[in-house]
């Protein structure tokens, strides 16, 4: 039984649900597996992430999402989180008046958060006393979000473009974090545009027009993505890339 089983999901957006974002998407993720999701902007990657997490306004038009064999329908975000699903948004929000140490201990007050900070390349001495507010740069905030998710020890971590806003020199740090999730037993749904990040995955899929158009090894899918092959775009060349 897969950890996450996305079954023929259709999602229509807009006031009268006139815009189809996901169009019969099926995908499965095994426990402890890293699954990379590649695709250009607007192909439905973040929508899939929001549907799995159960964000407000995201309910599938058709299909089902199963987690450890149980339907996620009707469960709110925190209920899904308590089953073991968590998510890092592409642009994490800031929190006034909340310190980094407290943020890392929101649900897990027993563990020392130092390891999680070191994992994301931040010095515990310098960052424990910082606030999770506007004083952090985008990259720092992103790293702290990844560290906080790590402390949760999730069964499935959805990482929506964890590399965006991170300088190129620190790409290795992000790859280390993703690998650490796997080492600690978490599965990862990894949404990314960057091949070097995707290559850490066990499997990968490419999205276009709300459908999976290519699945397989990360190298194969990345090659397919770069070559702009597309089975659903007119002329066989992806219009989104």
């Amino acid at each position: 039984m897969p950890l996450l089983d996305v079954q023929d999901i259709v999602f229509d957006a807009g006031p009268s649900r006139q815009v189809r974002i996901l169009d019969g998407l099926s995908l499965s993720i095994e426990a402890g597996e890293i699954h990379a999701l590649l695709g250009a902007n607007g192909t439905g990657k973040s929508t899939l992430a929001a549907l799995v997490m159960g964000c407000d306004g995201y309910r599938q038009t058709r299909g089902d999402l199963l987690f450890e064999g149980r339907s996620l329908s009707g469960l709110r975000i925190h209920e899904r989180a308590r089953l073991g699903i968590t998510m890092a948004w592409q642009e994490p929000v800031r929190f006034e008046g909340i310190g980094v140490a407290d943020y890392l201990a929101l649900r897990n007050k027993d563990d020392d958060p130092s390891r999680a900070l070191e994992l994301v390349g931040l010095s515990p001495v310098l960052y424990r006393s910082r606030m999770v507010d506007r004083s952090l740069s985008g990259g720092e905030r992103k790293r702290i979000e990844l560290a906080s998710l790590f402390t949760l020890k999730p069964k499935l971590a959805i990482l929506d473009e964890p590399d965006s806003g991170i300088d190129m020199l620190s790409t290795a740090d992000i790859i280390n974090v993703i690998a650490a999730f796997k080492r600690s037993g978490s599965a990862v749904l990894l949404i990314t545009h960057r091949e070097e990040i995707a290559l850490i995955a066990d499997r990968a899929s490419q999205l276009c027009g709300g459908r999976i158009i290519c699945s397989g090894t990360p190298a194969k899918v990345a090659e397919h993505y770069k070559a702009r092959h597309c089975e659903i775009c007119v002329g066989g060349e992806c219009h989104y890339v």
Partner: protein, 311 residues
């Protein structure tokens, strides 16, 4: 139990630290209603306090170039269900001096209590004053708090004030502070208030940036729930070249509560710049989703966010 012990007990029960008042190296003034219960001064600090027919009058002076090591503690309150406490404060921080004044205002059983504070503050050239006022109220809500201050910050002076009323019911609050800031001075005014039930909150902070390169920020954080109401007015005038001011107001509203923010920014000199930002509404949806993705229930998430902005 003496009245002072009772005041300290109520202060301690509200979460305050009573140790400072017992410390021989720390200055303090404690008053219940119209009675002065205890006072201590330290070298370089002059406190002339007296009971008047309707309140307490205190003249506090920090001598020139004296930098007080420990904060000066003011412990005020009304322990009875009914009463009025009227305090007139005249504070002078002479040139080059610095002091941190911490006021604890304790009203644990207020059903019909008025606390009126009228302060005049003069901060000399190169002097610094930090003023932190924290209120500890009971849950009845029968209290009216009216703090008013007129502050003059001298050239190169520093003025930081922090008003916190997040414990117990607010009752009625009408805070009105006005600061006139001279050349190269810095002013920072922060107010944090949490209103419940039918609490009625009015906060008005005014900064007149009168001198060249004077800088200021007015920061207000209010959370209200049930049927509480809040109106926050932040006024900053830039009246001199290089003056820089900012007004920052955030109000979180729950249930049937009603909030209003009135930022007034005025520039009377082309070399001055004043900005403002105000955010009023329910708790931010993305913040909620982020915390819920950590496993917090919606109620826990709101609690974390509100406590954060009031911290």
């Amino acid at each position: 139990m003496s009245e002072l012990d009772e005041l300290l007990k109520a202060f301690g029960e509200a979460g305050g630290s009573t140790g400072a008042l017992a410390d021989g190296n720390t200055a303090h003034l404690a008053a219940s209603g119209h009675r002065i219960l205890s006072s201590r001064t330290v070298e370089g600090l002059e406190v002339k306090a007296r009971e008047t027919w309707n309140g307490i009058s205190a003249k506090v002076t920090v001598m020139a170039n004296v930098k007080l090591k420990n904060p000066v503690h003011l412990c005020f309150g009304v322990l009875h269900k009914k009463g009025t406490q009227k305090i007139k404060m005249d504070v002078t921080i002479e040139d080059g001096a610095s002091a941190h004044i911490v006021a604890h205002c304790v009203f644990p059983r207020a059903e019909k209590v008025r606390h009126l504070m009228d302060a005049t503050v003069r901060i000399g050239e190169g002097a610094e004053m930090r003023y932190s006022e924290t209120h500890y109220h009971g849950m009845h809500g029968g209290i009216e708090v009216v703090p008013r201050a007129v502050v003059k910050v001298g050239r190169n002076g520093r003025y930081f004030t922090d008003f916190t009323l997040t414990t117990g019911r607010v009752g009625k609050l009408a805070l009105d502070y006005t600061v006139e800031a001279a050349e190269d001075s810095v002013t920072e005014m922060v107010a944090r208030v949490f209103g419940h039930a039918t609490d009625d909150i009015h906060i008005k902070d005014t900064v007149l940036l009168a001198g060249k390169n004077a800088r200021s920020i007015i920061k207000t954080r209010v959370a209200i729930e049930d049927d509480a109401t809040a109106e926050v007015t932040g006024i900053t005038e830039g009246n001199a070249p290089g003056a820089r001011g900012h007004v920052d107001c955030m109000e979180i509203v729950k249930d049937h509560a009603v909030a209003k923010a009135i930022p007034i920014v005025q520039v009377n000199d082309p070399g001055a710049k004043v900005t403002h930002e105000a955010a009023i509404g329910s708790v931010d949806k993305r913040q909620m989703e982020t915390l819920m993705a950590h496993g917090l229930s919606p109620e826990e998430a709101v609690d974390v966010i509100v406590k954060g902005i009031l911290r």
